[in-house]
Symmetry: C2
Subunit: 337 residues, 2 copies
DNA sequence: CTATGTTATGCGAACGTTCGCCCGAACGTT
DNA sequence: AACGTTCGGGCGAACGTTCGCATAACATAG
């Protein structure tokens, strides 16, 4: 048995031309059941597996899907992206594809990395995440007419994307607090230039309006999503004359900052001031008290994204092209009296 | 300009045979400076990039490095692995390689996935992590003589690996507690079948012996590395007649469980009972009190692993083949009075 | 019995590279 | 003047597939 078993070895074994073997493997064209069986037997016997390099060259496809993610903080971890990646890897594997992760260089030059992977034939399509308003990558890929699917909402009708309804998430959290009897609810939001941030924020506004509750400008903070900003902002709120009885945060990190500030003021999180987060970071469940948080269906997002992308690559019918999934509120002690 | 610019287009433009272009691109063999320049000009003008698919077929290499990681818990996040992956992706990219992540199936069948990727020519080598004693993957790859590098120590002289000195890590943590005046130090360790666990545990033993402190069997727990086990074990310790004044844990999760148990007993973490963790999970810094933990140089591990693997693939000189890096103790409030 | 169609298989070519060998010209060297 | 050497570059082949067309064998119909 030769070191590398090729289609020709199989052909010799089965006593047919190697092209016929190829036909059987891709079961196209008619081949008599007997020879078919003979060929399969030979394949099994020799332990043949098709060489992907050769196939890819011939078919001009790579079965690779490029994915690049931006760490929120340099050399720090983005737990959401990790799970997302894992989900995509598994989904892709099932369909005979692989994920090719590549580094995310400085925001302006990043189109280069995409262009390179396209031109060299390394990937068949891309998965995009952390989309900005007017993301240059989107324009570029559209112009080049190269397949991609985004995690995050786009505008154009033609775009493929999967998104999580962030507004719905904050609405759930806010409604939950209102149901607990809270009226003075502050919000720790992101800077206004963030599309994801504005989307989530809208959910808070919606819930407050529906309940006819007052939204004070002083209790609406648009800040960077860090622990420090959550801490500092909450601290400020606690020193004011009237203070909120509940705080909804756009991320867990902001919520954790808020919790710390509350505890340092000698107040109890939950009993005195309720707090909710967003993302259901692994740590949320281990905090004291455990943090109520909005959990995104990241696993499903990964599955759907790959499904969409592979379908579009293989020209299969697309029943849905723009998928919006609902998040789920995980209620824990931090929002209960 | 044709849609796909190939080497032949460049050749036509530069008025040489396409094989000569290839030679220039891989700068091997003599070509006169003039034609060289002419060819490069043509390359630039046409925006040529070599087609990786074709090159890979011809050279029988894929420039892909397979990596599969096992989530500690199904559908849960392993923050260490995430950073590790990111580091490898960047290191590989610099050297013209890519990481190919693939799913980790059930432990017994996983060799199949490795075999498949090898046979189909998808990858040139593997990175292994989460190594067990007698890991079947290692035996398999050695038998097939396929290049790989492990994150985690192996035995054989010939093996390539990068490891973090877990014993040193626990030694640092234990010595730190001893320096704080602690004498009754309990340890939350892993089951004995874990090689990583035994390695770390040895560091605790070393530090205790050096300080001539007593190690009570009752204060040595070999348990699964979960929050629940940390919590339950610590609870048990606290109810005993004499209780430890400090607890070293083999993972942050165990430490967090211990912290919770301590706090629920009305004691103060740090002031009353000191606690240290391992891994410096992102959450460690946000806990109340913040958790003292051993930080592994994950970024460096990723860089070194890729360096080793690429060197061995390209038959470059290997100065070191078995690299052990030292972790670092990050002291926070949980271990201070 | 020829014409026509169907079915099963074979064959040449191509995908875009790299590799090794060959060859002609220029240049010294006996 | 004849002979090596070196340099620059060309040429055919190969990597392992898939694709489209050609063709042989056989059956069916006129």
């Amino acid at each position: 048995m030769p070191l590398r078993v090729t289609i020709k070895d199989v052909a010799a074994q089965a006593d047919v031309s190697y092209q016929t073997v190829s036909k059987v493997l891709n079961n196209q064209a008619q081949v008599s059941p007997e020879t078919k069986a003979r060929i399969w037997r030979a394949v099994k016997k020799l332990g043949y597996v098709p060489n992907h390099r050769a196939r890819d060259l011939r078919t001009q496809r790579s079965h690779m899907l490029g994915y690049s993610w931006r760490p929120d903080l340099p050399h720090q971890v983005n737990p959401i992206m990790d799970l997302f990646l894992l989900s995509m890897v598994e989904a892709a594997d099932e369909k005979g594809y692989h994920i090719l992760p590549f580094p995310h260089p400085d925001p302006e030059k990043d189109v280069d990395a995409y262009r390179d992977l396209m031109r060299t034939g390394r990937v068949d399509g891309f998965i995009l995440s952390s989309i900005d308003y007017n993301d240059p990558r989107i324009k570029f890929l559209q112009r080049e007419n190269f397949p991609f699917v985004a995690f995050g909402g786009l505008q154009a009708e033609s775009d493929l994307f999967v998104d999580v309804d962030g507004a719905r998430g904050l609405e759930l959290a806010t409604r939950h607090l209102i149901a607990q009897g809270h009226k003075n609810i502050a919000v720790l939001a992101w800077p206004k230039h963030s599309r994801v941030g504005q989307n989530r924020f809208a959910g808070y506004v919606q819930a407050m309006r529906d309940a006819k509750l007052e939204m004070r400008a002083a209790w609406t903070a648009h800040v960077e999503g860090t622990f420090e900003m959550g801490y500092a902002t909450t601290h400020k709120w606690l020193r004011a004359k009237t203070r909120p009885t509940a705080i909804v945060a756009l991320t867990d990190l902001l919520a954790v900052g808020a919790m710390r500030a509350i505890q340092e003021s000698g107040l109890r999180v939950g009993a005195d001031i309720a707090v909710t987060g967003f993302d259901d970071t692994p740590m949320a469940q281990y905090l004291t008290p455990a943090l109520t948080s909005v959990r995104q269906p990241i696993w499903q997002v990964g599955q759907r994204v790959i499904d969409l992308l592979v379908r579009s690559l293989e020209q299969l019918p697309l029943t849905e092209t723009q998928i919006v999934l609902s998040p789920e509120l995980i209620v824990r002690e931090s929002s209960l009296k």
